[in-house]
């Protein structure tokens, strides 16, 4: 009917959009969650394997390991568009170039490290799928929630010193400035003991012992009992948080995927660290 529209995705690739988007492949759980929230759930024909279990997907949706996808399957699914993630790209080169040759448009979403980035993700997906109104509602809802926590935290004077762990022993990993998690911690008024480090940093056990946090949070979900594991580490009993039994688990999916759902994690963190303010 009309001229095909060309957009530039947020990583700078020019993409010719299809006239209609009726079948979508999403390659990251964050994109999948956003698509579902924008009402596109039933148009998704294939998702990456980490998206398994996200509610709102078709039962017959195909699960693909996008680190090692079978291109033939993708082509034979006849998708109108592939919404990929920076995580799929190898060094600026376009891993799905052959799919483009086969006539399938591919857009890439950059890795998000700020809350603003999440808004932009939502807006861009909305733009290419034609659901801008729903996106505006979604974003406004998030902003409203966030403002609520900011207000409460403004009244907290004695900020708790917290260590937030995203990878367990022996390779401890934490987050610091330049990550949306750090932004979230600041919103709820938490003093991250490693705030000055980069957005995702390995940390040594000695450093944690020395920092001596009052509370330890972990969103590790791939070992049996992350809280117990932390408490049982040799030497960690001299840390205040461990000594006072202040080690908590924060839901992994809501805190580790850059989507509108971070407000759920925000709530969980706020209520865990400052129960007295949220009764």
């Amino acid at each position: 009917s009309s001229e095909p529209t060309t957009v530039t995705d947020r990583m700078g690739n020019e993409v010719v959009l299809p006239e209609q988007v009726n079948s979508i492949i999403s390659t990251s759980p964050a994109n999948t969650e956003i698509l579902v929230a924008l009402g596109m759930g039933d148009k998704i024909v294939a998702v990456d394997k980490y998206s398994e279990g996200i509610t709102g997907l078709n039962a017959e949706v195909v699960l693909i390991d996008f680190m090692n996808p079978d291109a033939e399957t993708i082509v034979s699914l006849n998708p109108d568009i592939i919404i990929a993630s920076e995580i799929n790209t190898l060094g600026g080169s376009d891993p799905f170039a052959v799919l483009k040759e086969a006539g399938i448009p591919v857009v890439y979403q950059p890795l998000t490290d700020s809350i603003q980035g999440i808004y932009d993700d939502i807006s861009f997906i909305a733009e290419i799928t034609g659901s801008t109104e729903k996106a505006e509602v979604l974003i406004a809802g998030m902003q409203e929630e966030i403002a609520k926590y900011q207000e409460i935290s403004a009244g907290i004077t004695e900020k708790k010193r917290v260590y937030f762990e995203i990878s367990p022993a022996p390779d401890l990993f934490t987050i610091g400035k330049g990550s949306y998690l750090q932004e979230m911690l600041e919103i709820v008024g938490v003093d991250n003991v490693f705030a000055d480090l980069g957005k995702g940093t390995a940390i040594s056990s000695e450093a944690v012992l020395e920092a001596n946090p009052e509370i330890i949070l972990t969103n590790v979900n791939y070992i049996d009992n992350p809280v117990e594991e932390i408490k049982s580490r040799e030497g960690w009993d001299s840390i205040t948080a461990v000594a006072q039994d202040q080690v908590y688990y924060i839901d992994s999916n809501t805190s580790s995927r850059a989507t509108h759902n971070i407000v759920k994690a925000l709530k969980e963190i706020a209520e865990t660290v400052y129960p007295e303010f949220y009764e």
Binding site: I64, D65, N68, D70, T73, S93, A97, V98
Partner: protein
């Protein structure tokens, strides 16, 4: 007897190649494939019942993939043979000289920093990988030359080992520092022929043909060198020049293989042994046969890699060893029992 065996090897190679084009998510017939190829090459009309999807899958995905797998396997088989007999060490392979650590390091750097050279586009990773693999080998040769004018095998091996471990360490540190890219880097390193289109095949043909021509012309020299440097010199081999050229060209082979498809192991170490077992010691047989065997094994492994857990794939580098090891054990030890 050699003739019959050569025939057998070639027939197997062709059969596996055909099989590879036929097998995949979308089932096609040999006739379809011929039709598609003729259509693409000579603009012959396409049969109307062929879906454009199917055409895409065969032409854009499957064909280049099979060709690339063969080329890469052949490159690894040939260069493994060269290095093994040049350095007279069963465990030596071009990887020993740092080709793959060089390539992996720069590939890791590119993946981690996420840049791309505009002109090279899609081929930034393979081309830079290739060049750094080669650069590592040149560094090894230059350093060896400095400490040991004779360019003796033991020194080459030691220097290669130390350089390659060093570069590899740098690469490891890279992956440790850029943990977000760790997965990408590791998966790249495991090797795959997925999503490589014709541009990769074109690059592979150029470099691998150059490399193969560069080494195949020295089969007699390799024979002579296996009796020792002095013996080879006395028979008229310019050992210095020949060794350097063989090192460089086999690095071109491995370098392009690694750059185009990741650090796939096994073939380089095992193909020469199988070829020797079947065809004796003369390099005029061993070298091309290793190449064909390497290519065949690679295509076969790729078939398995992309079908066994479809719609995902296994890393082909792992499948190669998984299939190749029992095959090797069978061939190699059949007679000794």
């Amino acid at each position: 007897m050699n003739k019959r065996r050569i025939l057998l090897v070639i027939t197997t190679a062709i059969t596996v190649m055909l099989l590879a084009v036929l097998i995949g998510t979308v089932g096609v017939t040999a006739a379809d494939i011929v039709n598609i190829i003729l259509h693409k090459l000579f603009r012959l009309p396409l049969r109307p019942d062929l879906q454009p999807n199917t055409v895409s899958i065969i032409w854009t995905l499957r064909l280049p993939r099979v060709l690339l797998a063969f080329l890469v396997g052949a490159a690894l088989g040939a260069s493994g043979t060269v290095i093994q007999s040049l350095l007279k060490n069963t465990l030596a392979s071009p990887y020993t000289l740092g080709v793959s650590s060089g390539a992996s390091f720069s590939a890791g750097l590119i993946i981690a920093l996420g840049f791309s050279i505009p002109l090279l586009g899609n081929l930034t990773l393979p081309i830079v990988g290739f060049l750094s693999g080669l650069a590592t080998v040149f560094a090894v040769i230059a350093f060896t030359k400095r400490v040991d004018k004779e360019l003796s095998n033991n020194t080459i091996i030691l220097v290669g080992m130390v350089f390659s471990l060093f570069v590899n360490a740098a690469y490891t540190i890279l992956t440790a520092l850029f943990r977000e890219s760790l997965e990408g880097i590791i998966m790249w390193q495991m090797g795959s022929f997925a999503m490589r289109g014709w541009s990769y095949v074109r690059a592979a043909v150029i470099f691998i043909v150059i490399g193969l021509l560069g080494v195949i012309k020295y089969t007699q020299e390799m024979d002579l060198l296996s009796f020792g440097e002095d013996e080879a010199k006395a028979n008229g081999v310019e050992t210095d020049k020949v060794k350097k050229q063989l090192l460089v060209f086999s690095s071109v082979l491995t370098g392009s293989a690694v750059a185009l498809s990741g650090a796939i192991g096994f073939v380089d170490l095992i193909a020469p042994h199988v070829a020797r077992r079947l065809f004796g010691s003369q390099h005029i047989y061993v070298l091309p046969i290793s190449a064909v065997l390497g290519g065949t094994l690679m295509i076969f492994s790729d078939i398995v890699a992309r079908t066994i857990i479809a719609p995902s794939e296994l890393p082909v580098g792992a499948v190669t060893a998984l299939i190749g090891a029992p095959f090797f054990a069978y061939i190699y030890f059949k007679k000794s029992r």
